[in-house]
């Protein structure tokens, strides 16, 4: 049961101080920290001029590469030392390689019980015929989630660095190369019309069969991204914007990453044992088998395809 405090008592409590601090009604440093009024830094005008001129002369002398002997000598020494460093590094690595076990031999420390376990039990535990896919999307699924996030964050950072404000019309016109690109390149458009659908279908095939053969979300997503870039080059931004804008990319990536995270977080609720799957694994080799791997592959593929296209669009004209 809480006790009711009077106004004076309440003013002494910590919660009141916290509330004041949050509101900004009282400065907690007032009367407790010694404070002095700040003085403006002043200098005589002649002193300023002399100082700046001196600095200028010094900088010119230091960074004048043609007449500055020290700088030249430093650069020469830097080059010699970096060559020596690289050569000695390569030599050391070669000596290390010459003492390593032979390439292709089975009796090497790399081929230990971990690889044995993946190969012998991987199919039973993950249901994926492709052992590498089973490894990266089931045993190490959180690692792959982190990779997808790395890609997404890289796109966000590139967008922040290279974005061009559409309100600033001068910059926008300069970066917008739609005015310079040929309007209708018949060769490119014909080739794109023939090639883009098979590229998309092949990319979707690689994503969907990631657990049955070579492939997976990363490679299939890259193929689809390449198809998108070809389409963009042939038909221009006006046509791609009908189905792929910044908003759609954001929603797609968010949905894919959230779906991945939700699909894999079930293991926290089943005792945090990631290896024992509660999801039926199906018959190995069928398309709807191996638990969640198909869904995870689709999520990763969506993120990668969007990332590839976004990198291209941003580097070309700073936005969609």
């Amino acid at each position: 049961m809480s006790k009711k405090l009077s106004e004076e008592q309440y003013r002494k409590t910590r919660s009141f101080q916290l509330k004041q601090w949050l509101d900004g009604t009282k400065d907690p440093f007032l009367d407790t920290v010694e404070m002095k009024p700040q003085e403006e830094f002043r200098e005589d005008r002649t002193v300023i001029r002399e100082r700046s001129e001196e600095k200028k002369r010094l900088l010119e002398k230091v960074y004048d590469l043609e007449h500055n002997a020290e700088m030249r000598i430093f650069q020469r020494i830097y080059r010699i030392f970096s060559v020596i460093f690289c050569v000695s590094l390569v030599l050391m690595l070669l000596i290390a390689v010459s003492n390593l076990p032979t390439v292709g031999a089975f009796e090497r420390p790399v081929n230990n019980e971990v690889a044995k376990r993946y190969i012998e039990d991987g199919l039973d535990e993950t249901g994926a015929v492709n052992i590498v896919t089973g490894m990266i999307l089931d045993y190490r699924a959180f690692d792959t989630l982190g990779e997808s996030h790395v890609l997404f964050i890289a796109t966000c950072t590139v967008l922040i660095l290279l974005r061009i404000d559409k309100k600033n019309s001068k910059d926008y016109m300069e970066a917008n190369d739609r005015t310079h690109e040929p309007k209708n390149d018949i060769i490119l458009q014909t080739v794109a019309r023939i090639l883009v659908p098979p590229i998309f279908i092949f990319g979707i095939y690689v994503i969907l069969c990631g657990h049955l053969g070579p492939g997976g979300g990363f490679s299939g997503g890259a193929v689809i991204g390449a198809g998108l870039i070809l389409y963009l080059n042939a038909f221009g931004f006006a046509k791609t914007e009908r189905f792929f804008t910044e908003k759609i990319y954001k929603r797609m990536s968010f949905c894919a990453l959230a779906c991945y995270a939700l699909a894999k977080s079930y293991s926290f609720y089943t005792g945090a044992n990631h290896i024992e799957s509660i999801i039926p694994l199906g018959t190995p080799g069928a398309i709807l088998s191996s638990g969640l791997i198909l869904i995870l592959n689709i999520c990763v593929g969506v993120v990668v395809a969007g990332t590839m296209y976004t990198f291209y669009a941003i580097f070309r004209k700073g936005g969609y």
Partner: protein
Amino acid sequence: MNLANLLNNYEEAVAMILFGIGFSNLLLQKNLIKKIIGLNIMDTATYLFLALKGYIAGRKAPIVVDGVRSVEAYINPIPSGLVLTGIVVSVSVTALMLSLTIRLYRRYHTLDLDEITTRLKKEGL
């Protein structure tokens, strides 16, 4: 230095030399784009080395065919997974570095690193 073994491991030796080429590019080039290319060569050398670590002569890729599930049939799957991770990270890092280079070029109108640092110091930053 065991020369006979080095010749046996010539694939790994190539990876190391590639790494050295990339690193010397990184140190000696002044152009920022060429530095990024050097870093990418170093990445590639690392992938080559990792892929060689998993390779076992005469064995197939780790995709189960006809229910054969003995260790003697397939190569080591772990380095393949590691290479996948490395490729994704290197793509992201390359994109980030290139965008930073574009920003620097917009500000200083040069890609020469020495000139950029000189201009920076002249501006008193």
